[in-house]
Symmetry: C2
Subunit: 743 residues, 2 copies
């Protein structure tokens, strides 16, 4: 579902300017100081050598030709969740895993899914009558684009509706865009609004339109953001062509994701269900996506004021805001909401010493159309990874901890397969889950990117150092740094002192939402990451997200599919095998400190600096950092004792192992401690106090969500309460780390 | 010639980030502390009351209906310099001045002017053969646009040439654009380059292309910068329509402006002339401007790499850099270079006590087409001002100093009328000129803007406070502040401490080039300013810069023409009448300090910080600031003595007046002292050590020009020498102020 890591990183940079150079540099240098040279973090030197050899064997297994064949099979037909073709892909994934020697089962849920019942009618009524095609053209070079099974352009969970009204252009449909319109006395109430994709999750666009009384919403892909202004369009280039639109869910997943009728509970027989009217995460107005070819017909005749600053897009005329009777539009959507069976596939590699500690890997499998990039490049990576793990187990490998491989269904509609599974297994996951490792669109190009909780930054960077970048032959880590530097102007790379010592490492962004880590991190408090290789990807959620596109533009040699399997598997193996979990809560504390400082600046600008106790927050952050450092020191000592006891055959070994396991459990529990069962303001499903999708951004993370939201709403009372709860959560996490070292 | 004050301000902000909040605030508050309340700066309280009454009478005289009639007369026909129609406008201006009671004469020069001899041929040769029209369409709503006297689209001083070559798209044609192309292994040598207008003076585009070995240059108006992306196009809106191109000179005026054959000397009989081959400010390759309608036909078929970041414009396809044989172009220009008579008009209002001190006002009169905005809105303002001054003199006013009103010719080709006059009268001007007040395109909208030497910032702001903004009824000053604030985001308006105390005043930009102040300030060292009211002006140098455009968009009520006359006249009267010249060299010192600090930062980034003695520079700047403050104190004291002596009839009056005049002369001489007769590196005509047009920007100022240029070229030896000369100049200025107070 999520489009681009680069985009998420940028959003983060803009919204919070979080990760500063000094932190990153310190982080980079810390590893050699705290562990013996050449040892992997969390391993004794001896175990490290064994692990490295194992990982080398693993990384030699995934192959381009095998990856290519998976993708070809998975993308033969459109496979929207709940369809027969979707079921076929579930069987394909289950059977491949079994073939590779990994136990795998289907896991079903019955959830409410949306499908278009009749073709949407969208027509210009004035200044002339013209019905728009809403069809993505068949492209000869891309054989599957002519398939009659491709689902029409629609937005998942759009309401059914039939409205005729004047049209208002609302730019990206953000609250500030409506504020700009209000200054011009343009009222969207009762009108149909047309917004361009970008800058916020499409569900947010629907929600904000609804809050402003709109009668309907049209969302289009503007060529300035997603079309020819980015580069040559398909099939000449990888970018979105004139007739292409972006499907996608408009579920209000910032309130809660998953089945709309069973929030917080699994959609299985016996669970009581809400009615559709009672659901809180569904829009009440019709929403329809269109192409820029169609949008041009609506936008060009608009009158009213010429757009405010920032409203102009890439179509070749001056954009007007409309809102007058000059342009009237008829929008009729006819949706069917069906309780439908969906199929997750869950595979397991059983662990040895700690089989009740789980490393959970997840990728969704359902697609809006063929899903070559989104999500089946990730499914392909998972299958190649499974092939590798199966081969290693055949050779005798048994990981210390259990590895769970999840192929989710119905992610596109609202992270449904993952959410239902996480809700069903909440108690067990809270106890057992070490980490959740997500890969959605694993490959749309060659540029590595990642988002994660800060405790996993070092782990991701270390793994990226050990995987080869296919194009450059350098490490993925080095290629990633080089790419990020290329995009920055000179001034940012050298500071005023003329040195470049302070240059940051490539940033690892915060987790917002838009993929399946959300139930794990933000509902349950499981340390999570999301990663993949991005590129010039202009066919997102279109009929052209196809095997042909991937073969021509995304990864013609399928080598990045291999690299994706390698890095995902490397991270998983380290977490599965390490005696000491390599989670760094000092990085977490540094990151939270930056969030707090950034928030204080915003609060000062809004004259709300006194509304909450920022010093108390900074104090508990320091406490967390201190406890984290003491825990790291103890982990190092215990690993050294274990190494020594093996040599000297003394009797400290079992006791040291037991103490490490207790510390490991505290490292899981620390993330859980950052959740608060009372949930966030207005959205109790979200419990994490540090990370949540922004209410008005949707995809991008809003760090310290309740505090930021209170400050944005200029609500001093809420800000005080939010800061208090955040401080409590951080204090709990610090205490958990402390307790973990005792005994 | 110059398009927009707002643009110049932005360029300045970007290039130097000069005027900081604290300075501005201090400057704003300084006046009330150093002069008696309500007194105008430089006047005794008694004189101030007289002056205010006079100014009020003056400002009541300019009238919209009279302004409208001037503009109608001036814009009836195209009046390119050296044509019969140009001569008619000279007579119109001279005769109106005489009619108003102001003596006025024509002043002729014989200069080398360029005209198109035969229509330019521009045709696509591959991938298909198609000749481009190069015609601006007649628009029914704009009757003069059908005139057959409109000069074809051409660039003044383009060479004649006939080349057929592959086409390369070079973005704005800046040095960094060529550097980006070099990275892609695209070599413009022997090719025709196509650059878009903007970010640099068009002569710079020609020069940089020439330096890179291009065979020809096409310059077009991209709709992202100058077309529909800015707003509705003419005649629906004020912006550039599809067939419209931008004429304009490509003289290398950053080397020297004026007649190419008589640099540094007046183009009058008896002056020896260079041959055209000897001239140093003329391009050697053909250069042709085209519309975006025509440009689309050249750009759309381009192949080669998809543009680097920043190269994409507003046409509806992905821009490629070309440079391959896929697109070949034939360009044939046929120019005639004629030694031609041009006509300045010079009017005089003789001064009384100090008739040998001159306040020089200038506006050019020649236009590429009808010149409604550029320049005849300014000519109109000058005529209304002349009507006002004539009326005041009839009522008995005789200014203390002489006011000279100049209507320049051939500015469009290269500031020729003003440069020849300044060169002819150099000795007298160096002795007598108090200030040069320029107004080129006085009105294209309602947004006031100004550029000047820092010593006149307070004067401009004070005058703006005393003129009413026609649209809002507030002062021009207040409307100016409000407009600038509107364009800035919240974050810039409130600092992190949550207060807004440090918000800067609307900035007054540095003088670069592109209008007639250049010979006065940058060749002779006369304190200069340039100002006007800007707006949505999309018909610059096109067939649509017409009376119809002005009547529909620029100033339908002609009230801003009146406001322009009022503010210009107000500044002139204050300078003409003040006993103590209100020039503030403390502001100048603060500004230079910011320039130095900014330059030091750049030098550090380039590891050239040790190449020059920045502390020595900062020391002389402090010395200048200190002398300036002492001079201000003495002016205040002397004004108080004069006021007192009038009351007490003591005998100090004549002595105080004499001392003030000596100080006044030192304030003129201080600006002269900032020039260095040796000139700038590679361009001896430019003598000013603080201000010059940038070598690679052309319009925008490059402060501390030789030092900045040396640092950009990474030349440590030149940087040291430049810093030394700049420090010498500032020290001279400080000494001049000091000497002025003695005796």
């Amino acid at each position: 579902m999520r489009k681009s890591y680069v985009r998420a990183s940028l959003a983060l940079l803009i919204s919070a300017q979080l990760i500063f150079a000094a932190t990153a540099t310190r982080a980079q240098n810390a590893a050699p100081q705290t562990t013996p040279a050449a040892a992997l973090e969390g391993f004794t030197p001896a175990d490290s050598a064994v692990e490295r050899a194992l990982e080398d064997r693993f990384r030699a297994i995934p192959k381009p030709e095998s990856a290519r064949e998976h993708l070809r099979q998975l993308t033969k037909e459109p496979h929207v969740a709940g369809t027969r073709e979707d079921y076929q892909t579930a069987l394909y994934v289950r059977d491949r895993m079994r073939e590779y020697g990994i136990s795998a089962e289907l896991k079903e849920y019955q959830v409410l899914l949306p499908y278009p019942k009749a073709p949407t009618v969208l027509e210009l009524v004035a200044p002339r009558r013209e019905r728009l095609s809403l069809q993505e053209a068949a492209i000869p070079e891309d054989p599957t684009s002519a398939s009659r099974k491709i689902i029409p352009l629609f937005n998942g969970y759009s309401a059914s509706g039939d409205v005729t009204a004047p049209l208002v252009y609302v730019n990206y449909g953000l609250p500030e865009d409506y504020a700009a319109l209000k200054k011009l006395n343009v009222d969207p109430k009762g009108k149909i609004v047309i917004a361009r994709y970008g800058r916020s999750f499409r569900g947010v666009k629907a929600r904000v339109a609804e809050e402003h009384g709109a009668a309907g919403v049209i969302i289009y892909s503007d060529p300035a953001d997603d079309g020819y202004a980015k580069g040559d369009v398909y099939p000449k280039g990888p970018w979105r062509p004139e007739t292409s639109g972006q499907r996608g869910s408009v579920q209000y997943l910032f309130i809660h994701p998953g089945d709309p009728l069973t929030p917080g509970a699994p959609a299985v027989p016996g669970t009581p269900r809400l009615t559709r009217e009672q659901a809180t995460n569904l829009p009440k107005l019709p929403v329809q996506p269109i192409s820029y070819g169609d949008a041009r017909k609506l936008l060009e005749p608009l009158r009213g004021q010429v757009r405010p600053a920032g409203f102009q897009g890439g179509l070749p005329f001056a954009y007007h805001v409309g809102g007058t009777q000059d342009v009237r539009v008829h929008l009729k959507t006819d949706m069917e909401f069906k309780t439908t069976t969906i199929w997750n596939v869950v595979g397991r590699v059983e662990g040895g010493e700690e089989r009740d500690r789980w490393i959970v890997l997840g990728n969704h499998r359902d697609a809006w159309t063929f899903g070559a990039v989104d999500p089946n490049s990730g499914t392909t990576a998972m299958l190649e990874l499974a092939r590798g793990f199966g081969e290693l187990t055949r050779q005798g490998w048994k990981p210390r901890r259990t590895i769970v491989l999840c192929s989710w269904d119905a992610e596109e509609q609202g992270l449904i397969g993952s959410t239902e599974w996480a809700e069903e297994n909440a108690v067990e996951l809270k106890e057992k889950a070490v980490a959740y490792l997500n890969m959605d669109a694993a490959v749309s190009g060659a540029n590595f990117g990642a988002s994660s909780v800060p405790s996993m930054w070092k782990l991701i960077r270390a793994a990226a150092r050990d995987v080869r970048d296919p194009k450059t032959g350098k490490s993925v880590y080095q290629a990633w740094q080089d790419h990020v530097r290329e995009d920055r102007p000179e001034a940012e790379l050298t500071d005023e002192s003329g040195t470049d010592e302070k240059i940051a490492e490539a940033r690892i962004a915060a987790l917002g939402s838009g993929s399946d880590y959300t139930p794990f991190l933000q509902h349950l408090g499981v340390p999570s990451l999301d990663m993949g290789f991005g590129g010039d990807y202009g066919v997102y959620h279109s009929a052209y997200d196809s095997f042909a596109w991937m073969s021509k533009f995304g990864d013609p040699q399928f080598v990045y599919h291999v690299a994706a399997a390698q890095i995902w598997g490397t991270v998983a193996m380290r977490l599965a095998d390490a005696s000491a979990l390599p989670f760094d809560y000092a990085d977490y504390a540094d990151q939270i400190r930056d969030f707090v400082n950034e928030t204080v600046k915003t609060a000062r600008r809004r004259k709300l600096a006194d509304s909450f106790d920022s010093q108390a927050l900074l104090d508990v952050v320091s406490e967390l950092g201190g406890q984290a450092n003491r825990t790291k020191v103890m982990q190092t000592d215990l690993l050294a004792q274990i190494e020594h006891s093996k040599v000297s055959a003394d009797d400290t070994h079992p006791r040291s192992i037991a103490r490490l396991r207790k510390i490991n459990d505290s490292l899981l529990a620390a993330e859980r401690a950052l959740t608060d069962a009372r949930g966030l303001t207005g959205r109790p499903w979200y419990t994490h106090q540090i990370y949540a999708p922004g209410f008005y951004t949707g995809y991008a993370a809003q760090p310290l969500p309740d505090l930021r939201q209170a400050i944005e709403a200029r609500n001093a009372t809420n800000a005080r309460e939010a800061a208090r709860r955040i401080a409590e959560a951080i204090r709990r996490a610090a205490q958990v780390l402390k307790d973990g070292r005792e005994g």
